[in-house]
Structure formats: structure tokens, C-alpha cells
Amino acid sequence: MTTQRKFVAGGLVIVAALGYLIWSGVTQSVVYFVTPSELLAAPVANKTYRLGGMVLPGSLKWEPKTLSLAFTLSDGKGQVSVRHRGAPPDLFAEGRGAVVEGSWAREGYFQASLILAKHSEEYKAPHDGADPGYKELLRTLRREPRTDEKPPR
């Protein structure tokens, strides 16, 4: 019987240690999810946040040579300018939702270390006979004559 009791005691010690590990893990690595207006209400510098909003159309600036990416995230009520080093990832575009992870810089912008673009699952029926936007791009790359003057997008 005492052997069994020792096992229970030993098990409890291990369980307590694991519980502590989980508790400290959560408190160390939990990241708060905020919207631009929530962040602007009470920004804490150098604390890690996840900031989610829509990439404001016309705000995206990408400089390939310096790898600097800048854009504005908006939730309709507030706007936060975001800076990131690196090319815009897949599924990232103006007018679409994006979540960025990073921290608030004292200079008044959000420095993103990670961009998580959102994938759209909604059904969109293609318009009959419409020219998909990318065809123009392919033509440019192949140096074929343009069919219209609109810039490719």
C-alpha cells in the first residue's frame, strides 16, 4: 500500500511541475489581439500585440531595394501605420484583411515582425468573358503588345 501511496505522491509532484510549466508558459507568451482603435486608445510601447484590420486602399508602399513595406491598417474607427521589413506575403493586398504581429514603437507606428494575411473563402462567380487581371501581367513579361492602356493590377 505504501508503494502505491508513494506513486500517487510522485505523480502529484510531476503533475504540479507540469501545471506550473503550462501556467508560466501562458503568462510568458500570451499575445493580445487588438484592433487599430483599441491599440490607439492605450498603446503600450514594446509590448507584443497582434493587430488586425483592413489594409487601407492607397496606403501600401513597398520599396524592393530596401525591403521596406509600409501600409495602414484600419478598423473604420482608427488607423495605425505599420512598418515591416520584407516583401508583402501571399494573400496580402490593399482592401483585404490582415493580421500583423509586432509592437508599438514610441515614434508612433507599429513595427510588424510577422504578417498573417487572411484567406478569403467566399464564393465569387467569375464574370463571363472577363479577362483575369493577371493576363496583362503575363503579356508584359512576355513583351507582347498591350491590349489596353489600363495599368495591370
Binding site: S29, A125, P126, R142
Partner: protein
């Protein structure tokens, strides 16, 4: 036409499954075999109907029948032939159909195998299996109908999610679902054992191979998922502690615990209650995983209420767990252990620890996955716990498990003497320490990596020691080399199959440790003709940008970059990462290119590019030892195959 036929098949299938589940019970209660026979016929009917559903869906996909909403959403006229078939399980509704179909196949195998061999348990097993099938057919009928009509009929469909246009998508869901559904067979036998009151080892012996099969497919599904993530998603990793991954990982953890703890029951008549709990948990977690990934709850608690599928899964999960645990409580008296723990230094105790750590890992993954949801629901604060949390908590747990993996198979049952410990573990422990010291001399400074490497060498040492001894023993008793090496593997296939699986896990562990500890990544914009250099382990890689080209595929346009990779020995190779433009997506999707190697992969992603082809932004990574994951998966496959072979020790 197809939507109506398919819907009819689904509803009739649901009624038939429900009828069969009840008929089997009536048969066993009244002792009238006819009832049982109609239950069996119902099972065959259900299988035929779900097969018909799959055939109808395939037909709809191959003929571009866009009157079926599921077809219109997941395919378009340009979708290549293979992906029109795999589009079948490309989204929620179809994956439920695939799941149900596999379950119906397993049910059929149960009917064929056990109707005569296990007359007592069989009717209940049949009833439970058909009950689960009825649930999935109900889901197919109400919240996730695969044959829903779309009107007006669009001229073309939207197209498959481009990320799913990959060979991994052919095998990954199939393997994963074979694993998920496979666990319902041991679960059904466990329930039958509880209902009949035969709570001995019988159900465990019967379902041993089923469990290994399910576990193997689940492992394979996870590994293929990692491979897909690595070579499609373009972030250079294979595991992100994403809720979708966690959903599949949790039943794997409890399933692994179950595989080990049943050995104690078979040998020492202990842990009966625990084993039943584990299989119930594993089965519950397969349902929970589907709930988690398919209800939309991951995005936000609020999206949960948008579709009704989450409610269905949660209700069935609650029902299944409540029913199973009530049965368990009802039979507690018959579940007392007949053996007892004698010493903390024994195989039983090591297996118990293994179970404890596996459950702790499961709980960690569970907690990390649902904590954001709980926080949002209870406190109204949205938070995320990412990879740092999972790594922080799980790394010590997995290192402990590695250690136990070396100790468990060799330590004595009941009470290990100092002599036993010395004989089995002295040399492997020394080998591990020496390995860590050598790696330290070669400049490996990361403590976690050194620990992991030392443990891997230690475990490999114990396996080599044990196998070497067994081979020598056979040689002494007069066997030739062939009989002593290969023959031994076959004769004790269960033990050595397990050892080979352990070796596979060790190789995977090396891959994980190596790739997590070292990764070199650089992002740079190159002009045409310009090069970038990165340092690999012993060589310097140079990547030169040679230009861009464009092409049009059947359902997308593709811009491909040409890059020349030169390694330190002057060997040249062309890498062509690209970006794919799908009309249904507003933004392009990366097409990764890489050079895989035993010790290092060079991994190249094309980011942005200038429209005149003069400039390209690339992400260049040197990923170390990732290939070991795939090699480990291969070793694991061999071991599992060996363990699944019929047991040769017992006469049939």
C-alpha cells in the same frame, strides 16, 4: 439530377444506419438472429449508399456539373484532371463524405471478420459503428449537405483553393482520415466490452492491430501534412502549432499513450480503467478535431454560431463522451486491477510515466488551442498563444519522453535490480554522453540540441544493444546470419516492429532538433545578373538571378524566376521558384523551389518582382536536417508494417 440522387442516398443511408444500429441491439436482446442479420444488411446498404454518393460526386466533378454548389465552389473548367478528383475532399462537405465512406468500409471489415469469431461482442460493435455512421450521415443530410443545389447555375466554377493543388493533397487527407476513423473500431470494441461486461483483455487483443493501423495512418497523415506545409506554403517550416495541426496531433498523442499502456494490461492485468479512458479520449479527440477545424470556431467564438455544423459535432461529442463514461462508471467494479505496482524502478512505472507525459502534452496542446477561445468567450479579450508557448512547455515533455523511450523496452518488469540497470543502460548512457561531448567540441552550443542528440544516441544505443544480444543468442543456438537477423525481426515482429518505429521517431527527433536549432534566412532584392551569398554548414551558397519568364497553365498564370545556385564546390543547379496567379484569387500564391539534401536544404521563394523582369525580391533559406523528418517517416512506416503482421509468438 445528381443533387436529388445524392441527397436521397444520404437520407436513406442515415435511416438505414440508424435502423441497423437499433436492429443489432434488438437482435442481441431478444436472441433473434434475424434482427442481427438485417442489421448486417443495413451496414452493407449504408456502405453501398455512401459509395454511390462518392461516385455521384466524382461524376459531378468530372462533368463540371455546376448545379452542385460544392462542385462549383471547388473546381472550375481549368482544374486539372487529378485535382478534380481530389477536390472531392477539398472542403468541409466532401471531407465528411470521405470520412463516412472510410467508416463504412471499416464497418464492413468488422462484419466480415468478427461475425463468427466474436459472436458475443460483435452485435454491440456493429451497433456502435452504425451509430457513429448515422451521425456522419446526419451531418451530410442537414448541416453540411455535399449535394446542395446552386441556382442559377454559373457558367464556370470558382476553382479549388490553389494551395490544395498539390500531390500532398491526394494522400494527406486520406491518410489522416484513415487514422481518425480507424480509432472508432477499438472504441466500438471497448464500448461492446463494457456493455457485455467482458472487460478483460479480450477487446484489447482483438483491436491491437486495428490500433496500430489507425496510429500508423495518423502518423503518416501528420508527416505528409508537414511535407505539404514545407513545400507548398513557402514559409520554410513544417509545423506551426496551428489549431488545424493540433487537432490532428492530440488524438495521436493519446493514441500513442493507449498503444503503450495496453501492454501493461496484457502483461500485468493493470490499468483496465485507464485503457478504456484513453480509447474514449482518443475517439473523442478525433471528433473534437473535426469540430475545431470545421466549425469555424478557431477564427472567433462568434463564427461558431454562423453554421450549425459546430452544434452537431459538439452535441454528438457530448453524447458520445457522456454515454461512454457512464458505461465506464457502471462497470467500475469489474475494472479493478489484478496486479500491483511493486517498485518505482520497473517497466510498469516507466510506462506510467510515458502515459503521464503524453497526457500532459495532450493537455498542453488542448489548452493552448482552446485558451484563446475561452479568453474571448469568458473575458471578451482576444488573445493568441503561439508557437513559443507550445515549444516552451512541450520541449521538456518530449525530451522526457525520448528518455523513457530508451528505458521502457529494456528495463525489467516489476522491480529492476541494479545489475539489470547496469547491464542494459551503462553503455548507452555513456554513448549518449560521449555523443554530446563530441558535438560540443564541434561547436554545437545549444543545450536543448545537445540534450536531444544525447538522448537520441542513448535510445539508439539501447535498441542496438538489445537487438545485438538477441541476434547473438540466436547465433549461439545455431541459426545462420539470415535467420538470426531477419528471422528474428519476423519471429518477434511486434517487439522489433515497435523498435523500428522508435528508430523512426528518433530520426524525426533529429530532424526536428536540427531544423529548429539552425536556420539561416535572408531576404533580398536582386537585379538581373546579381548574386547573393549565404553560409551553409560547410559551404557557401551563391544564388544568382537570371531572369523571369511567364507562362499560362490550364487554370492559372505563372511567373517563374530562373536562379542559378552554386555551392562551395562549384556545382551549379537551376532553381525556378515562381508565383502563381489564379483568377479566383486576388493575390498571387508562391511556388517554392528547393534543393533537398541530407543535411541541408536550400529553399528559395520568389517574393515580389519588377514587371519588366529586371528585379526580384527573394527569400532564401538554408534549412538544416529537415529531410530527416521524411526519412524518419519512411523508417516508421517499415516498423509499423512489421508490427501489423500477425503475431508469430502465439499459435493461431
Amino acid at each position: 439530377m445528381i443533387p436529388e440522387l445524392g441527397y436521397a442516398a444520404t437520407v436513406v443511408g442515415f435511416v438505414l444506419a440508424l435502423y441497423g444500429a437499433i436492429a443489432a441491439v434488438i437482435g442481441v436482446r431478444t436472441g433473434q438472429a434475424n434482427w442481427l442479420r438485417t442489421g448486417e444488411r443495413a451496414a452493407i446498404g449504408v456502405w453501398l449508399l455512401i459509395t454511390a454518393c462518392i461516385a455521384l460526386m466524382l461524376y459531378a466533378f468530372l462533368t463540371f456539373d455546376f448545379s452542385v454548389r460544392y462542385v462549383a465552389v471547388n473546381t472550375n473548367r481549368g482544374t486539372p484532371f487529378y485535382y478534380r478528383i481530389t477536390a472531392l475532399w477539398g472542403a468541409l462537405e466532401g471531407s465528411i463524405v470521405l470520412w463516412a465512406w472510410m467508416l463504412s468500409v471499416y464497418t464492413l471489415i468488422v462484419v466480415v471478420r468478427y461475425r463468427r469469431r466474436q459472436p458475443e461482442l460483435y452485435p454491440w460493435v456493429l451497433s456502435v459503428m452504425l451509430g457513429i455512421l448515422a451521425f456522419f450521415l446526419l451531418v451530410m443530410s442537414i448541416p453540411a449537405p455535399p449535394f446542395e443545389r446552386l441556382s442559377p447555375i454559373p457558367p464556370d466554377g470558382r476553382g479549388l483553393n490553389p494551395l490544395l493543388e498539390d500531390s500532398g493533397m491526394i494522400t494527406h487527407p486520406v491518410a489522416l482520415y484513415l487514422g481518425f476513423t480507424g480509432f472508432s473500431v477499438p472504441f466500438a470494441f471497448a464500448m461492446a466490452a463494457l456493455l457485455v461486461g467482458r472487460t478483460g483483455d479480450e477487446w484489447i487483443t482483438i483491436t491491437r492491430r486495428w490500433t496500430i493501423v489507425a496510429w500508423y495512418f495518423l502518423s503518416l497523415g501528420l508527416l505528409i501534412g508537414g511535407w505539404w506545409s514545407y513545400h507548398v506554403l513557402g514559409w520554410g517550416g513544417y509545423w506551426a502549432w496551428d489549431p488545424v495541426e493540433n487537432a490532428a496531433f492530440m488524438p495521436w498523442l493519446t493514441g500513442t499513450a493507449f498503444l503503450h499502456s495496453v501492454m501493461i494490461q496484457e502483461r500485468r492485468r493493470m490499468l483496465k480503467l485507464w485503457n478504456l479512458t484513453l480509447i474514449i479520449l482518443t475517439f473523442g479527440l478525433t471528433l473534437f478535431g473535426t469540430f475545431l477545424t470545421r466549425s469555424g470556431i478557431i477564427g472567433s467564438v462568434h463564427s461558431f454560431t454562423q453554421g450549425s455544423i459546430g452544434v452537431f459535432f459538439l452535441a454528438f461529442l457530448a453524447l458520445a463522451l457522456l454515454g461512454a463514461f457512464s458505461l465506464l462508471a457502471w462497470r467500475t467494479d469489474g475494472l479493478r486491477a489484478q496486479g500491483e505496482l511493486d517498485s518505482a524502478v520497473s517497466r510498469e512505472s516507466v510506462f506510467l510515466l510515458n502515459n503521464l507525459f503524453l497526457i500532459a502534452a495532450t493537455f498542453t496542446v488542448f489548452f493552448g488551442t482552446v485558451f484563446p477561445l475561452l479568453s474571448e468567450a469568458v473575458r471578451g479579450v482576444k488573445v493568441s498563444v503561439g508557437a513559443p508557448f507550445f515549444n516552451l512547455v512541450n520541449i521538456p515533455i518530449f525530451l522526457a519522453l525520448l528518455f523513457l523511450m530508451g528505458v521502457g523496452p529494456l528495463i525489467a518488469w516489476r522491480r529492476a535490480s541494479a545489475e539489470n540497470l547496469k547491464r542494459n543502460f551503462l553503455k548507452p548512457v555513456l554513448a549518449g554522453i560521449v555523443a554530446a561531448a563530441v558535438l560540443r567540441l564541434f561547436g554545437v552550443g545549444n543545450v536543448l540540441v545537445l540534450t536531444a542528440m544525447a538522448l537520441v544516441v542513448f535510445v539508439a544505443g539501447t535498441i542496438a544493444l538489445d537487438y545485438g544480444r538477441a541476434v547473438r543468442a540466436r547465433r549461439r543456438s545455431g541459426d545462420g546470419w539470415g535467420a538470426a537477423t531477419w528471422g528474428l525481426l519476423l519471429r518477434q515482429n511486434r517487439r522489433y516492429g515497435g523498435f523500428i518505429v522508435h528508430l523512426g521517431i528518433l530520426v524525426v527527433a533529429l530532424g526536428v532538433a536540427g531544423s529548429q536549432a539552425w536556420q539561416i534566412q535572408t531576404e533580398v532584392t536582386l537585379d538581373k545578373g546579381q548574386s547573393v551569398e549565404v553560409d551553409g554548414y560547410r559551404t557557401r551558397y551563391r544564388v544568382r538571378f537570371d531572369g523571369l519568364s511567364a507562362s499560362e497553365e490550364s487554370n492559372h498564370g505563372k511567373v517563374t524566376g530562373t536562379f542559378t545556385l552554386t555551392d562551395g564546390r562549384g556545382k551549379e543547379e537551376v532553381l525556378s521558384p515562381g508565383r502563381k496567379f489564379y483568377p479566383q484569387e486576388q493575390t498571387p500564391i508562391a511556388a517554392v523551389d528547393y534543393r533537398l539534401g541530407i543535411f541541408e536544404d536550400v529553399y528559395l521563394v520568389l517574393g515580389d518582382f519588377a514587371r519588366d523582369g529586371s528585379q526580384a525580391t527573394i527569400k532564401l533559406q538554408v534549412n538544416r536536417m529537415v529531410s530527416w523528418l521524411w526519412i524518419g517517416g519512411l523508417v516508421l512506416t517499415l516498423g509499423a508494417a512489421l508490427a501489423i503482421l500477425p503475431d508469430h509468438r502465439k499459435p493461431a
